[in-house]
Symmetry: C2
Subunit: 351 residues, 2 copies
């Protein structure tokens, strides 16, 4: 029914071994023979059997990319960059690598399952993106899994995520979320803000904690008391920003700024403020994080911390492919850049 290597070999009057070598191109084959084989492949419309090939060669050309939410541009941009470096239909001839984007939904359990699936497939490399769960049990489980993946020959790269405990040879490209959060809040403090609300990300995730810690560091350094009532947690979506802002305003009507976990949340915060008739930044300043493409189009444009998502993803991809050297110690910290735009202003600048 389906065409196999042997069929091609028969048609080209050569042995299966020769066909395999023509297809893989890593062994000398006379030009005439090669051509004959290629013609047979074409005529028979032959397609290599991937599983058989992977089994025999004990390697695969799959590269897994784990993301928390594929519908979120934050991850889309990183994944896109990783993929473009992986090769896909753009890599070296013959070695068509296939990037597999896996959507974990932020669930550590699913993350683990996908890692097992990737391990099953003997993936060439695995890139984990975005913040991680901080549940000790999961951290241990994932660390162990990553170590095993590494031992089995898969290269493991973390992108935008802190180093994994228990997996020493996983390369980590970490965003300096703490530093970014600090600078953002320092900027606000510099504008005179003292009563700020903070809409944090989901509890128990590294990114959430680091950004929040940066915020608190800045407050502490400026001698401003951190009012725990003014920090609310929620998912990374617009709705969370909206609801949290409404609640923040209820708790503290004299709020002058809202710092959001990321740009999407910030947009929700803006919507809530607008709906209440408050002007931005006249009445309340708003700041985000990430600098996603739409942030510059918000009105007013969002002050935020730009993370070089595409650059980091590309670098992760290259490292995963062994085309770029690992950073010293296997860890690199990537800085964010404060982007001051229209959504933040001096206290009492309007209203």
């Amino acid at each position: 029914m389906t065409v196999t290597l042997a069929d091609v070999a028969a048609r080209a009057q050569v042995s299966p071994a020769t066909v395999s070598r023509v297809l893989n191109g890593n062994y000398p084959v006379a030009a005439a023979t090669r051509e004959r084989v290629l013609r047979a492949v074409d005529e028979l419309d032959y397609v290599l059997n991937g599983p058989a090939s992977s089994l025999a060669a004990a390697t695969s050309d799959l590269v897994g990319i784990l993301v928390n939410d594929i519908a979120d541009p934050f991850f889309g941009i990183i994944a896109s960059a990783v993929q473009s470096e992986i090769g896909g239909p753009g890599g070296r001839a013959g070695g068509e690598r296939m990037a597999v984007v896996c959507n974990t939904g932020g669930s550590a359990e699913r993350e683990l399952t996908y890692l097992t699936l990737l391990q099953r497939q003997r993936a060439a490399a695995v890139v984990l993106t975005g913040g991680a769960s901080e549940d000790p049990e999961h951290v241990a489980a994932i660390g162990a899994k990553l170590r095993r993946l590494g031992e089995a020959g898969s290269r493991v790269v973390l992108c935008g995520r802190p180093p994994a405990e228990g997996a020493p040879d996983a390369v980590a490209l970490t965003f300096d979320n703490r530093g970014g959060g600090r600078r953002l809040t320092e900027h606000l403090l510099g504008l005179g803000h003292r009563r700020m609300g903070y809409v944090a990300g989901p509890v128990g995730r590294t990114t959430t904690r680091h950004r929040l810690e940066g915020h608190r560091e800045a407050l502490a350094a400026a001698g401003v008391a951190d009012d725990p009532r003014l920090t609310l947690h929620g998912p990374y979506d617009r709705r969370s920003g909206y609801d949290a802002t409404v609640e923040l305003l209820r708790r503290e009507p004299s709020l002058t700024a809202v710092v959001a976990a990321n740009d999407t949340v910030a947009l929700g915060a803006c919507a809530a403020l607008r709906d209440r008739g408050l002007s931005i930044p006249g009445d309340v300043s708003v700041a985000g994080f990430d600098d996603l493409p739409f942030s510059v189009d918000a009105v007013p444009a969002l002050t935020t911390v730009r993370l070089p998502l595409a650059g980091a993803g590309a670098r992760a991809g290259r490292i995963a492919m062994g085309r770029e050297e690992e950073p010293p110690g296997g860890i690199a910290t990537i800085q964010g850049e404060l982007m001051v735009r229209g959504s933040t202003g001096g206290v009492g600048s309007g209203g």
Copy 2:
């Protein structure tokens, strides 16, 4: 080095066949034996060899999802929905399916390559999303490839893309881009607009053509001449909308509306108008397409055509998994919904 089925069998004092059966759970195994095997699996930290398994069973649990641009939320949302229905770590136990998101970048050639890769892996199903190239050669090549995939046992579903010629058993869930485009322009005509610019998508793609045709149908029906100088093509990005709008304004300073290929492009158009000091919709109305999440947060909120991306993706996923019946004739047309918001208004409503 690596643990194999045989190792587990030895440890559990059973034959490899029995271990396989315990793992696949499709053959009676005595409870005591099963438990012994499971314990051995656990103790040995055994992970199934995917390629070997696929080879022997002649099936795989990979499902391919092809997207034009993974960094674009349009595709992210669809892919996310497909994936959630595929099962992934959420499907039926034992049958851990793995959704593979492949980024074609809109290139028909890469699309073809990915399809071959998927064919190599004997993918269980393939979902192609978004508009397709209209190059006759590519259309034929892709049609043929899809047919072959179908013949080889992969289920093929098109989501947000017109039926593929030459692949009769590929199910198609098509968006009514033409109808949506028509209704959008009718809305603008109803507001009194007569000099409208149109920022279309890339040339040679079905989506671009259909939306544009809808626009022209509406103009024709209203007896408004279509000025070809007022239609510009470009990629689906912000930049394209910005640049095209600047050019449109140059060609026709008395423009009262800009219709964009999609929301992202519309945002670029808004930015261009703002930069020129024009108010929206006072001076110029702007309309988009898709109703992506950020569109409602634009200021003013974007008038657009909402496409049920998540719903369509989910349906495509279910059909791909054989969990939902195919639409009659293998083709279903999905309607968009006109969302009238603040970015469109009557002609001369301000200035």
